[in-house]
Subunit: 806 residues, 2 copies
Amino acid sequence: VNSQTVKEAAVEPGGEVVDVLLEGRMYGRYTQELGVYAKEEAARLRESGQRRSVSRTLDLLEYDKGRCAKCRTQKWMYGGLDSNVFLQYLAWVTYPVVLITFSAGFTQILAPQAVGSGIPEMKTILRGVVLKEYLTFKTFVAKVIGLTCALGSGMPLGKEGPFVHIASLCAALLSKFMSLFGGIYENESRNIEMLAAACAVGVGCCFAAPIGGVLFSIEVTSTFFAVRNYWRGFFAATFSAFIFRVLAVWNRDEETITALFKTSFRLDFPFDLQELPAFAVIGIANGFGGALFVYLNRLIVQFMRKQKAINRFLMKKRLLYPALVTLLISTLTFPPGFGQFMAGKLTQKESLVTLLDNRTWAKQGIAEEFDYIGHSEAWKHPQVNVFVTLVLFIVMKFWMSALATTIPVPCGAFMPVFVIGAAFGRLVGESMAAWFPDGIHTDGTIYPIVPGGYAVVGAAALSGAVTHTVSTAVIVFELTGQISHILPVMIAVILANAVAQSLQPSLYDSIIRIKKLPYLPELGWGHHEKYNIRVEDIMVRDVRYITLNCSYRDLHNVLLTGHLKTLALVESTESMILLGSIERAQLQALLSLQLGRPRRLAYIRERAVEDKKRLSVVSNDSSENSSHRASQEVRFQVRGHSGQRCKKCFQPFKAHYFQSHRKKCLQNVTAEFCMSSKITEWEEKQLDEQVNFNNCKIDPAPFQLVERTSLHKTHTIFSLLGLDHAFVTSIGRLIGVVSLKELRKAIEGSVTVKGAKVRPPLASFRDSGTSSSENEATELHKLWDRHKSMPLPREHTPSESDEKSQ
Amino acid sequence: VNSQTVKEAAVEPGGEVVDVLLEGRMYGRYTQELGVYAKEEAARLRESGQRRSVSRTLDLLEYDKGRCAKCRTQKWMYGGLDSNVFLQYLAWVTYPVVLITFSAGFTQILAPQAVGSGIPEMKTILRGVVLKEYLTFKTFVAKVIGLTCALGSGMPLGKEGPFVHIASLCAALLSKFMSLFGGIYENESRNIEMLAAACAVGVGCCFAAPIGGVLFSIEVTSTFFAVRNYWRGFFAATFSAFIFRVLAVWNRDEETITALFKTSFRLDFPFDLQELPAFAVIGIANGFGGALFVYLNRLIVQFMRKQKAINRFLMKKRLLYPALVTLLISTLTFPPGFGQFMAGKLTQKESLVTLLDNRTWAKQGIAEEFDYIGHSEAWKHPQVNVFVTLVLFIVMKFWMSALATTIPVPCGAFMPVFVIGAAFGRLVGESMAAWFPDGIHTDGTIYPIVPGGYAVVGAAALSGAVTHTVSTAVIVFELTGQISHILPVMIAVILANAVAQSLQPSLYDSIIRIKKLPYLPELGWGHHEKYNIRVEDIMVRDVRYITLNCSYRDLHNVLLTGHLKTLALVESTESMILLGSIERAQLQALLSLQLGRPRRLAYIRERAVEDKKRLSVVSNDSSENSSHRASQEVRFQVRGHSGQRCKKCFQPFKAHYFQSHRKKCLQNVTAEFCMSSKITEWEEKQLDEQVNFNNCKIDPAPFQLVERTSLHKTHTIFSLLGLDHAFVTSIGRLIGVVSLKELRKAIEGSVTVKGAKVRPPLASFRDSGTSSSENEATELHKLWDRHKSMPLPREHTPSESDEKSQ
């Protein structure tokens, strides 16, 4: 056995050499100027923000170095002070607390949207909902710097969610930049496709796993997937992963391109068939564990929210919560203290490397007698069994990770969960190795059990259970560079998913609910006959519309009250026949054209010619009236417009104001007052004119449903086509509108009301206690009761629905 | 170097041992009773047809054994006759010719639908088009037996397409069987989902590659993919792959579950960074190769079709073409003849195993001096260089595979292409090894180049190029059990795809075009502004509809003339307001209820009572008239109905006939004639009655478009929702209908007419010569010209469109 061990050890990648090299180079540069470093990094990132995948990888590499350096600094401070335990403790604790507090504060000040994972937000954005503030440059800077500090603290935090968000930010900024040059980048649906590819890049370069990255991002962000995007995701993710790993080679960290956490299990006999039940046990246990993790995470958030007293105190001192949590966690992992029983001195990466080790740590309950090389010795404690260390590690890290991911810094939960899963797998593997010291295989050769393989299975299963994905299987293969355990991993992941999906929503869906993001939930499958709700039950009957012969004043009023992105155009109020839909921006353009600068100037010039002929004194009263009118109009324009167009609208108005002012200075003050009053009159006249739709872009085929379309069909159409709203027509006449909001309410409502539950594929026995939509349900309940008590409307008479729709 | 070689050889899986074992066991059983064996196998398969994945794997295993046995028999015959070259040749050639001829004949007689790959058909079926005869039990039997024989012949034929088809057949038969018990299996959309999972199973258990299988089947069959199906695919594919490999263990072929073509490349340094250009070259070259393969394959088919003389002759002797092709190919591979220069004596599987070998065959142009163990010696020829052998192998196999896949037997092209790609990769790898005998890596250790890794890259790239998929990368990892070459493989596959997609359609799309299957082509991306065609340009204005107050006679007439699955229900012919749609089957049920047995019997009883009172003689003339009427009705019922319902409809009619006959025997013949005439009268009266829609299932929200909906939007909606047809309405009034057929014509037409091309994502410079739709284009061309010369219809007046729609 000994010779084999030595051979295996020789096969190990030269981890130690790299570490020493890194340490040598880093000490000089990084000691305390973290702030300076962060600024530098941000500047560098800003420069390179245009070339996505390259910048993606550069920042990754930088951050990787940064983290190593910081951890090492912490260790060095801690190591250099080994004469005094108290000083050691201070050094151990100060670092993370300072970093996390800085990260939380920085993020809070610059862009609070950068907090958290980012995957739930991306899921919502890819669904077609606009969450504008999540894709700005500010958020980008906050996310990058905040993430760097948060990860540097050594807390059990992940990076895959933030990476997805950062990649998407890069893509969004890139396409905003490219749209300056016009062309295809102006297309909005193209932007969504770019974001989808960016998500794949994010995961792909986080783990150097292009295939797993693409699949994971699909599973996590999409409901329906266009296969043509798949190709693009692969393209982007492959190049990002490639450049990520190439830089490691150029940097002399690696000799060639290899996997990030390369394992070296034996190839000829990876596992015995009779070990499969053990793998299945890992899968099922991790399924329960994953559900528990999601539940625990949500519980902590809800507990913090409910406790009003704590909440009020923490709201005042926003940085106290992160600092306290960090203090607690780092105190518990302090190596001379409790940390010695749970390999506290290892970073997340080191833990994972040791857990995936191909050597067995224990044989028949006693630690094996080979030298624990490098980090592995952290798991060995003179008094305590390796099993106890592992159990403590799992239990402590479990709640620590669930707690740490609630800190308001940019962070994910994938990596901590992955490590816990690996530890659990290792525990089962070590137990199996202790139980069957000569392996299970019966005939001929002795093949000892490989606990590292169990760790791989456990990692994939737990992270799959928490995120409700199967592609974690692919990620572990790419991460470890070995695919020999494919069947155990697949079986464990599928079982873990089956269990976890039936107990809890995925972590991302849970966050979507906690954050109340506008995401359309899934309809349960096989239950759709139970959703006997029709569009007429949920539609909003009070539709904002414009008629073919409406005046600009009507347009003005409609724009002030509505909230939908497009407005219905009907033939007349009497017939209500739907002709098409017009975008809000188009209508605003029409309005500003009518009241805009050129026409005003023309009018003023005309007036000026007239005024030269006669001079009259006007009362002060009328001027007040005019200024009131003007302010009113400004208010309307500010409220009615949004974003870019707002500025554009203001421009003519302001320009007009100053222009007229300058001109009028030549004349006397009273004439000016007179002018203002005239302008007001002119505006009133303009508003009463009939709208000319000639140059307006009308969508002749807006999406229509009929009143009796089922909820299930509506949901399918909305999710497939990524609709925001659809008009409801009855024999061609507009009678209502359904938007995402109504649909969401109806679906969430039906969870508690109708017995048909909203659930993922395998959720056959999830308790309904997790949904917090009881209050929203009542409304639908009422609707439904009303509907039932009424006779089913076979045919609406025109007069009836006309009344309703007005 | 020598000691290393020995060690590596020892690591090789015990292929030889297994071979010997197999040989020993098989000789007794299989010599010539192929027919008996095939029958037995079919019987066994028929029994086990219900448990899909198990049966799937069983048959796989059986077939695997079968193939081994047959190849071995062929070799044994050939080996035993080494005294006489002519006899050897006869033995070598007879086997494949007999097997292929049998396969072609059997398939032709039983179910011609079983010919070919099956993936194009599945793609069409998953799109929502019903190709009923492709999923019958007959096809299943023909496909299984035909495939077994075709593969046993040793021709360069694949099995992945047929496996997909067989798995889908299993799923279809299974769900047909399960629907007897009712429940969710009756749902049609559920069946489509089952078929999607079955496709994944098919690929998954063909290569023991669950992940690659799922991805490949998605890429090959779908345009838009529901992520919830993904999970199911994984579930099914994992278990099929698991059981496939477990059976190999139980069968003592393998010690434990491993990859199908396990490689053993070194893990620590799989390849150097500077080798990447070589991998990229493989990718690009294979891209061109893949396009050439598709082109060659289509060329052969079209050539055979065009040559009228050959064609007529071959049509008479259907089995001659397969026999001739087989004879040609097996003559060329005859080992003592030309076959000695192209490793002709190896089967496809053996070739692949040797090509993926981790040893280098040549160093500096000279064959290395280690013993070629086992099959590898086939590549070594005393006079000829290894490079020449490889080049000959690639060139010969290339056209042979393209030719062989046109034989009308159940076969795929994936595996032959895969082997050719591996050979090309090996060629590049061996050249690199000869060029850099000590490897490229510059500092320190010598890492010789691994030509086997190049073979893996080449295999993935060529098969990816031919099928236009990226997931072949995943398939090779699962097939070889090693993932160390992930980046080279990904890069090569992406480059190969980029080249191939820009030159040719995928093999499956090419077959879809050749077979003229009703598949909706893709719209090019980025070009959709150019498709300025609207629904009104392509819709059929002559819609079949029924009105609320129509008579049964109208129903009858509409059913006789229409072809759509559902019919529009409008308020009245004048208003044409669309109220909903009714399925054809529902209407047929209405009609048979009106003219059906119970009502007939009631009428006859009534008449009988009346007739007892009076006896009158009726002229022969009226009886003739009646029989004419009856036959007319029968004809209508046969034409109008389909499948199950047809029988049901006949039943009451026949029953009535005999019933009335029996009854009337009591009375005299003239009374019977009178009766018939009365019944005819009664039927006429029934047909004139107004239809009662009360118990009819009306879809209140059929899919509607408006006349100005763009072609792009229509295409998106059709593909996303899998529609068959949609009604076109103008302000609520039905004015036309668009079905898949019209849409397909419009899209294909626009290839040549409008300049906007129908192409896959990367097809930027494909020549348009591949499309054979010039004749279809003219129609649209005319339409378009007409449309242009006419003023754009702003608003159809009611009278105008009413006229058109009738």
